[in-house]
C-alpha cells in the first residue's frame, strides 16, 4: 500500500516537474523578479541622480551662507545681472530654475518677495528643500530679535525622540512591532501564495484525470483516498522544488545584479522608510548608527528557529487542509471554468487572514481580533505566523494559544480531509453534471 502511494507521488511529481509551462515558470520567474528590481533601482537612480542646478540672483544681504549645495540641488550664483538677463541665462544654460531674492531691509521682507522661476511646476522635493531652508532662516531671525543667539538657536533646533523600553528594562524600538509583524506577514503571505498556486495544481491534476477518463482505471488499482493523498503530496513536493529553485536562483542573480549594476539596495528603502531622517543634520549620524544597531539586534532577537519551525508546521497543515478542498472541487467539476463558484469561498478566508493580519496584528499583535483569527483553523496558519516573531511566552504569544491553534488545525485537517475524500470519491466518477452545493452535500452521504 505504502509502495503504491510512493508510485503515485513519484508520478505526480514527475508529471508536474516535466510540464513545459512549469519549467518555463521556474526559470523565468527569478529572472523577471530580479529584472524588475534592477529596473526599479535603475529608474530610481536616474530619478535621483538629476541633481538640479538652480541659478541664484541674490540682490539682498541675506542668504549668503544658507545656499549650500545638497544631494538634490546645487547652486550657481549670478552677480550684477538684471532679473531679465538672469532669466535668459538660466534658460539658455538649461538650468532647472532661477531663485530670485530681491533686495530688502529685513529677512522677513526679502523672503516674502522671493520667487522661484522654473520652466514648469518644480519638483516638490526641490520646493520643499528651499522652503525648509527659508523657514529655518526666518525662525532664526525671529528668535534673534527676541534675543536668542545663533548658538543657542542651534541647540534649540536639536530634534527630540522619545525613548522606549519594555518593562523588563530592555530598550525597545519604535516601529519594531511593525517590523516583526512584517516578517511574520512575509511568511504568512508565502503560505497563502503557496496554497493558492499549488492547491490549483492539485485541482487541475484531478480535472485532468477526469477529462482524460483514466481515473476509473487508476481507482480500480488504488483507493481514491490514496490517489488524492499522493496527488497532494506529489504536487506540493513539486511546489517546494520550484520554490527552492526560485529562492536560490533569485539570490544568486540578485548577487550578480548588485555586482554588475552597482545597485545601492539601501537607497531603495531609505527614501521612504525613515522620513524623519531626511531633515536630520550631520551630528545625528552617530545616533543613527546606534539606532540601526538596535534594529539589527531586535531583528536578530526574533526567534528565527521557532519561526521557521512553526512555518513548516502551519504550512504543512494549512496546505493539506486547503489542497484537499481543492482536490474535492476538481473532482466535482468537469472542467476548469466550472470551478469559479467553488474557489471563491476558499480564497476568502485566506484573503481575510492577510488583511486582518496586516490591519490588526500590526497595530496590536495580541489583541482579541488577532487572537481570534490566529486560533480559527482556516486563518491561523497565516495570522499566527504574523504574531510569532514576538516569540512564545512572556511578551509574545501565550503557549496555550500556540498549542491550541495547532490542535484545532489537526482536528480540522482530519475533518476536512475525510469530507473532501467523500466528495472526491463520488465526484471523480460523475460526468456531465454541473454540481450545486446541494448536490455536494448529498454526495457526503453516499
Amino acid at each position: 500500500m505504502a509502495n503504491k502511494l510512493g508510485l503515485i507521488i513519484k508520478r505526480e511529481y514527475l508529471a508536474k516537474v516535466r510540464n513545459r509551462s512549469f519549467i518555463v515558470m521556474t526559470i523565468l520567474s527569478p529572472l523577471l523578479i530580479v529584472g524588475m528590481i534592477v529596473l526599479i533601482a535603475y529608474l530610481a537612480k536616474i530619478n535621483d541622480n538629476g541633481t538640479r542646478v538652480i541659478s541664484v540672483l541674490n540682490e539682498s544681504a541675506f542668504f549668503q551662507e544658507e545656499l549650500k549645495p545638497s544631494k538634490n540641488i546645487s547652486y550657481v550664483h549670478f552677480d550684477d545681472l538684471t532679473l531679465e538677463q538672469a532669466k535668459d541665462s538660466t534658460n539658455s544654460l538649461e538650468y532647472y530654475g532661477l531663485l530670485y531674492i530681491p533686495n530688502g531691509t529685513t529677512v522677513e521682507e526679502v523672503a516674502k518677495a522671493t520667487y522661484l522661476f522654473a520652466k514648469d511646476n518644480p519638483n516638490t522635493s526641490v520646493t520643499q528643500e528651499l522652503e525648509l531652508m527659508f523657514q529655518k532662516k526666518l525662525r532664526q531671525d525671529r528668535l534673534q530679535k527676541l534675543g536668542v543667539s545663533p548658538k543657542q538657536f542651534s541647540n534649540i533646533e536639536n530634534p527630540f525622540e522619545i525613548n522606549l523600553s519594555t518593562f523588563a528594562g530592555e530598550k525597545s524600538m519604535k516601529g519594531i512591532n511593525e517590523i516583526k509583524a512584517f516578517i511574520g506577514g512575509a511568511f504568512g503571505y508565502a503560505i497563502m501564495m503557496f496554497i493558492i498556486i499549488y492547491g490549483g495544481f492539485v485541482m487541475r491534476s484531478v480535472i485532468e484525470e477526469k477529462t482524460s477518463r483514466i481515473i476509473e482505471v487508476i481507482i480500480s488499482s488504488v483507493k481514491p483516498f490514496q490517489l488524492m493523498l499522493g496527488k497532494i503530496i506529489g504536487n506540493s513536493l513539486a511546489g517546494i522544488t520550484q520554490f527552492t529553485i526560485w529562492v536560490v536562483s533569485a539570490s544568486v542573480l540578485m548577487f550578480f545584479a548588485v555586482l554588475i549594476f552597482g545597485i545601492d539596495l539601501t537607497a531603495l528603502s531609505s527614501n521612504s522608510a525613515m522620513p524623519h531622517n531626511t531633515m536630520g543634520t550631520m551630528p545625528q549620524l552617530g545616533t543613527m548608527d546606534n539606532e540601526m544597531m538596535m534594529y539589527a539586534k531586535e531583528i536578530y532577537d526574533i526567534p528565527w528557529g521557532l519561526l521557521i519551525f512553526s512555518f513548516f508546521i502551519y504550512f504543512i497543515l494549512g496546505y493539506l487542509i486547503y489542497s484537499s478542498i481543492y482536490a474535492a472541487i476538481g473532482a466535482a467539476v468537469d472542467n476548469e471554468t466550472d470551478t469559479q463558484q467553488f474557489i471563491f469561498p476558499i480564497i476568502l478566508p485566506l484573503m481575510l487572514a492577510i488583511y486582518v493580519g496586516f490591519f490588526s496584528v500590526f497595530s496590536n499583535p495580541h489583541g482579541p481580533i488577532a487572537v481570534g483569527f490566529s486560533l480559527f483553523p482556516l486563518t491561523s496558519p497565516i495570522v499566527m505566523l504574523m504574531r510569532l516573531p514576538g516569540g512564545i511566552g512572556e511578551g509574545g504569544v501565550p503557549l496555550w494559544q500556540f498549542l491550541l491553534s495547532i490542535f484545532l488545525l489537526i482536528i480540522t485537517f482530519f475533518g476536512i480531509v475525510s469530507l473532501a475524500a467523500k466528495i472526491y470519491r463520488t465526484g471523480i466518477l460523475m460526468y456531465g453534471k454541473k454540481p450545486t452545493y446541494k448536490e455536494l452535500i448529498k454526495w457526503l452521504r453516499y
Binding site: K4, L7, I8, R11, A15, N19, E208, E209, S212, R213, I214, E216, V217, I218, I219, S220, S221, V222, K223, P224, L429, Y431, K442, R445, Y446
Partner: protein
C-alpha cells in the same frame, strides 16, 4: 461447477435511487459471461462493486471462494467503458506505472510489456506520447494494461468501442485466447452481435434488477417458440397455394417471389405438428427450406425488457 465470482443479494442505493436491487449471480470459471442490459440498468455499478471502487450496501460477493477484499485487486483486470490515459505521458512510462499499481515489479512489468507490445505489433510506440496516438491505438494500450498482470478475472466494459473492425477482431481473438488460457471473463455490453460470438453465459439486468440469467444456449432453447421458416419452389399459381396453406396452418407472414418462383413464409406450429406439416407440404410443392427460428440474443434482450416494462 466451480465459480470465480458469486454475488448474493447485492443491493446498492445512491440517495433515493436504487442502482442494484438484490442481485444474485454465479459466474463460472473459465468462461465468458455476458452482463447485458440497457443503459443505466446498473451494470457499471455492479462492475464497480466487484472492483471495490464502490461498496454494496448489503449482500455479499465471493471471489474464488473468499469474501471480496482489497488484496483481490491484483487478481482482477478491469477495462472500464469510460477509459483513457494520461495525455502528456509517454506510452511506455504510463504502461509501467499502471502495471506497478497492480502490483507487478518494474522488471517483470517491462518484460511482459515488451511481449505484449510485440504481440500486438506496437513495439515502436514505447516513447510516443498518448496525444500523438489515435483513439484506436490508445485502446490497444489500455487493453494491454488491463491484461498485463495476468488476472484470474477480467472485466471488459464495452471493449470494442473505438476499434475499427480489423483491430476489434484482433482484440476479440486475444480475449478468446485469454479464455483458452484459463481466465474467467465478464463482458458487459449492449452490442448483441458480440454477445452471440463470445458469451457462453449471460445475465440480463434491467432497472436495477436481474431479470434473466443462465447459459446462452439454454436460454435460447427456452425462448424457441416453434416458429419455422419455410421455402417452397412453385411452378403454378403461388397465390392459390398460399391460400390453401394459410387455411391449414397458422401462418405468421409470407412473401411470394415471382421471378424465382419461390414462396417463403413463417409458420407457427404446435410441438406435435412438425412431421405432419412436412409430409403435407411435400405433396404440394418442392420444399427447399425448412428451419426452426432460433431467437437471437437481440430478440431475447428486447423481448424480455419489453415484457418487464409492460408490467408482468
Amino acid at each position: 461447477m466451480d465459480h470465480i465470482l458469486v454475488a448474493k443479494n447485492v443491493t446498492k442505493t445512491y440517495g433515493n435511487s436504487t442502482a442494484l436491487r438484490n442481485i444474485s449471480l454465479q459466474i463460472p470459471k473459465n468462461s465468458i459471461y455476458g452482463l447485458l442490459g440497457p443503459n443505466g440498468a446498473g451494470k457499471t455499478t455492479f462492475i464497480r462493486i466487484i472492483n471495490q471502487i464502490t461498496h454494496q450496501d448489503s449482500g455479499e460477493i465471493m471471489l474464488n471462494g473468499e469474501p471480496l477484499a482489497q488484496k483481490h485487486i491484483a487478481s482482477i483486470g478491469y477495462l472500464p467503458e469510460e477509459r483513457g490515459l494520461y495525455k502528456g505521458m509517454k506510452v511506455g512510462e504510463q504502461a509501467l506505472y499502471l502495471a506497478q499499481l497492480k502490483g507487478l515489479s518494474k522488471n517483470e512489468a517491462k518484460i511482459r510489456l515488451k511481449y505484449w507490445f510485440d504481440r500486438l505489433d506496437i513495439g515502436d510506440w514505447w516513447d510516443k506520447k498518448i496525444q500523438e496516438l489515435s483513439k484506436g491505438m490508445a485502446q490497444k494500450i489500455q487493453f494491454i494494461v488491463t491484461v498485463l498482470h495476468e488476472p484470474k478475472l477480467l472485466i471488459f466494459d464495452e471493449p470494442f468501442s473505438g476499434f475499427d473492425p480489423i483491430n476489434a477482431n484482433i482484440i476479440k481473438d486475444e480475449i478468446l485466447q485469454l479464455k483458452e488460457n484459463g481466465t474467467s471473463i465478464i463482458f458487459s455490453t449492449h452490442r448483441m452481435e458480440s454477445v452471440e460470438e463470445l458469451c457462453e453465459y449471460i445475465a440480463l439486468i434491467h432497472k436495477s434488477e436481474k431479470i434473466l440469467d443462465g447459459k446462452l444456449s439454454d436460454i435460447k432453447k427456452a425462448y424457441k417458440n416453434n416458429v419455422f421458416n419455410v421455402g417452397l419452389q412453385v411452378e403454378k399459381d403461388a397465390k392459390e397455394l398460399m391460400q390453401s396453406i394459410t387455411q391449414k396452418f397458422n401462418v405468421l407472414s409470407s412473401e411470394i417471389d415471382v421471378v424465382e418462383h419461390q414462396l417463403n413464409f413463417k409458420v407457427q406450429l404446435s410441438t406435435s405438428q412438425t412431421g405432419n406439416v412436412l409430409s403435407e407440404l411435400s405433396k404440394m410443392a418442392n420444399i427447399n427450406r425448412f428451419e426452426e427460428t432460433i431467437p437471437s440474443a437481440n430478440d431475447i434482450f428486447i423481448q424480455t425488457v419489453n415484457n418487464k416494462d409492460n408490467g408482468k
